[in-house]
């Protein structure tokens, strides 16, 4: 039987239940038993002193790449789940662009089995929209749902055919699955490797205009209107996409969106300042300051529902090459909280909204359990130190890969303890790397 935990004296921030104040949280039998201002510590309980700390629901990440099966040299489900809990994430949605693609029950079951064996974060598989993510034939959504998928995506590439996208939205309705989409119009992208603007011009790198994302978001919103399917826009990066989602929501359409910490914190000028560092190469690319401002506003006003990391581990083989040739993506699970906390300090986001976008926001977008500390729910909890300073040393991270633009940077904010289903799965300073 799991031990009883008595998390006392922390500031409990649980936007889903409207709680924000010093409370004590009792965890028993794997569930949140009680949250109250004054409680007697049960004799059999392990006390966790959370004074000066934040106690929040465990974070839920709608967008990670765990690379297993197929590219275990970059990350495995176990190392990815370890990185997740180290960052305060108790649940992650694993994108299907593995090798093979997760477009059938056998891959989904393998992911779930490996996640269960790791016993760390909850891993929710995302199935493919199309077979092999080739954009040609619908995958078997019934089988994917039955085997445990929570959403559908061809992430890594857009669904180029509007006709297939229409059918996917229609067909998915029967299963209540949202489509989480990677939006880029590939002909506008061309051979682009970073955002098109003054920085790409200076660096002589091919640019990707913001419109490449905008036109696809607008197309898919039109298809939502046609079909009534649920659309979730992954890694929103442009002003135009934020505006389109805001308008769609105002019209009552079932459209949600997520934004990554790096698209909230960095711009194309950071690519230039890095001197072609491939740790700044991602897709969508880091955008202009104006786009970053729009994404921050979109997150603050609820247009964007969730912060998702798009954790994309790559080895040195893919990254220690010319910028043009490098793989897209950065790791993100272990740095998401401090990077986003910086937005709070900059006045771009309230503390409550930050926690909401990491917990109940994503839970609602995909209809997942968790995201709250209400009594009776499985006890997925993060204990966070909002003032702890630390320097990002890739060699000391839990992810198998080292591709982070925050290498060597001093960040403020750290996850101290992560609890999944009432069990402590990460304890800063005690969990071995």
């Amino acid at each position: 039987m799991a031990e009883v935990l008595f998390i006392e004296g922390g500031r409990v921030i649980d936007p889903a239940s409207g709680t924000d104040g010093v409370r004590t949280v009792v965890v028993r039998d794997g569930k949140v038993a009680e949250v109250a201002a004054r409680l007697e510590r049960p004799r059999d309980a392990r006390a966790i002193d959370a004074r000066g700390k934040w106690v929040t629901p465990g974070f839920i990440d709608l967008h990670v790449h765990l690379r297993e099966p197929g590219q275990e040299y970059k990350e495995t489900i176990a190392t990815g789940a370890r990185a997740a809990v180290a960052g305060g994430f108790t649940a992650v949605c694993a994108m299907p662009n593995t090798k093979p693609v997760n477009d059938n029950a056998s891959v989904t079951e393998l992911v779930l089995a490996r996640a269960a064996a790791a016993g760390l974060a909850r891993v929710y598989p995302v199935g493919a929209i199309s077979k092999g993510s080739n954009g040609e034939e619908l995958a078997e959504y019934g089988e994917l749902l039955a085997s445990g998928c929570v959403a559908l995506s061809d992430d890594g590439r857009p669904v180029l055919s509007a006709a297939l996208m229409r059918r996917a939205l229609e067909y998915a309705r029967a299963f209540g699955l949202p489509l989480t989409v990677h939006e880029e119009e590939l002909q506008l992208v061309g051979k682009g490797v970073m955002h098109e603007g003054a920085a790409s011009t200076r660096l002589g790198l091919k640019g990707i205009p913001g419109a490449a994302e905008d036109v696809m978001v607008l197309r898919d919103i039109a298809l939502v209107e046609l079909t009534g399917g649920r659309l979730h826009v992954a890694h929103v990066s442009t002003k135009g996409a934020v505006r389109a989602i805001r308008d769609a929501k105002a019209r009552g359409l079932p459209v949600t969106g997520e934004v990554t910490p790096h698209h909230l914190a960095l711009t194309d000028e950071d690519v230039a300042a890095s001197g072609y560092s491939t740790d700044y190469k991602m897709n969508p690319p880091l955008r202009s300051a104006e786009d970053v401002r729009a994404c921050r506003e979109g997150l603050a006003d609820g247009t964007l529902d969730a912060i998702a990391t798009d954790h994309a581990p790559h080895s040195a083989v893919e990254k220690d090459v010319e910028f043009d040739a490098a793989a897209n993506g950065i790791t993100g699970l272990e740095t998401a909280f401090p990077v986003c906390l910086d937005l709070v300090r900059a006045g771009a986001l309230s503390e409550r909204r930050l926690v909401e976008a990491l917990t109940s926001g994503p839970a609602r977008a995909f209809g997942l359990a968790g995201g709250t500390l209400a009594a009776g729910v499985p006890a997925d909890v993060a204990v966070l130190d909002p003032v702890a300073e630390w320097t990002v040393d890739p060699a000391r991270m839990y992810s198998k890969s080292r591709n982070t633009p925050w290498k060597g940077r001093r960040l403020t904010g750290r996850c101290l303890i992560t609890i999944v289903g009432g069990r402590i799965v990460h304890e800063e300073g005690r969990t071995e790397r």
Partner: protein
């Protein structure tokens, strides 16, 4: 060293003084080239490796001659005959060449930033001979050298750069160097060939050739890169040459008589320049080629740490 720089990768990072340091030294280097015996011992015992991942005759020969005039050993290395075709990475290639202890690596590569990546992994000096659409610093310096020679100074002068600015590393290096030396730069081309935000680098942008070249002290005509016309940037070379090409009639009507015409070469005769303009009295294209050797001598000398005892001979 050039100023505080160990490498010559980007003129965006060079100060006015650092640019002038190269140009001033190139004056004495050019004098060496005029001698009957074009050889000084300044870089005796030093070695320069030309590492070319893209086809080039002019630039590679220019660096090779520059090294040889200074008595450095020059090795030419081309990607088609290399391990790159066997899958070796750029960093590994550079490290292997570095292990052979060259003093300077001159690198041309199709990817912007490639020379910088190499510089991060080797101990010797790195000179960019052009990286993607980023920069071609020695070309920028030789263009400024030629303009100083012809105009006396760049201070207060107006220079038009015409053509496919989007894909031109020459345009970027020219722009950085010329504006630092006090010139006003007008960029001109079809709107599809003008990259986003280029004004932020200190240029004005025109889309009409006449507006760009009228009153200019110099015009740099760029090569239309046929290999990139696959991108639908223009309808074809026919309309381009009518609207943005320079022929004798336009030159006579729109250019000041003392305006000089530059071109980094190779020229597409009849497209950006008609033959009578390319070979006409205002053209300084062949001066650019000779000045290129002098400027590259200066760059190699400064980076390879020429022997001070021999420097007098080079600078004499």
């Amino acid at each position: 060293m050039i100023g505080r720089h160990k490498h010559c990768i980007s003129l965006a990072e060079y100060s006015r003084e650092e640019i002038l340091e190269v140009l001033d030294l190139a004056v004495s280097m050019k004098e060496v080239l005029q001698r009957p015996i074009k050889k000084v011992p300044s870089l005796r015992g030093k070695s320069v490796v030309n590492l070319f991942f893209e086809a080039s005759t002019r630039t590679r020969s220019s660096f090779e001659i520059a090294a040889k005039v200074l008595s450095a050993d020059a090795l030419n290395w081309t990607a088609s005959a290399s391990s790159v075709t066997k899958g070796e990475t750029l960093v590994d290639t550079a490290r292997n060449l570095e292990a052979m202890r060259p003093d300077v690596l001159v690198i041309r590569h199709s990817a912007g930033g490639a020379p910088r990546l190499v510089a991060e992994h080797v101990g010797c000096s790195v000179v960019s001979a052009g990286d993607g659409a980023h920069e071609h610093p020695s070309q920028g310096l030789l263009d400024c050298f030629t303009l100083r020679e012809k105009l006396g100074t760049l201070e207060g002068k107006t220079i038009a750069i015409v053509g496919d600015i989007s894909h031109s590393r020459v345009a970027r290096s020219d722009l950085h160097a010329m504006t630092k030396l006090g010139a006003r730069v007008r960029l001109c081309g079809p709107p599809t060939m003008i990259p986003a935000g280029i004004e932020a680098l200190g240029a004005t942008v025109r889309t009409q050739l006449r507006e760009a070249v009228e009153g200019a002290d110099a015009v740099v005509m760029l090569r239309i890169q046929h290999e990139r016309i696959g991108d639908p940037l223009i309808p074809g070379t026919r309309e381009y040459s009518k609207l943005w090409g320079l022929n004798a009639k336009k030159a006579a009507e729109w250019l000041r008589p003392e305006c000089v015409i530059l071109h980094p070469g190779p020229i597409n005769r009849g497209v950006e320049l008609s033959p009578e303009v390319a070979d006409g009295p205002q053209s300084v294209i062949l001066d650019q080629v000779q000045n290129g050797v002098a400027v590259r001598m200066a760059i190699l000398y400064l980076l390879a740490g020429g022997n001070p005892a021999d420097a007098g001979e080079a600078k004499a």
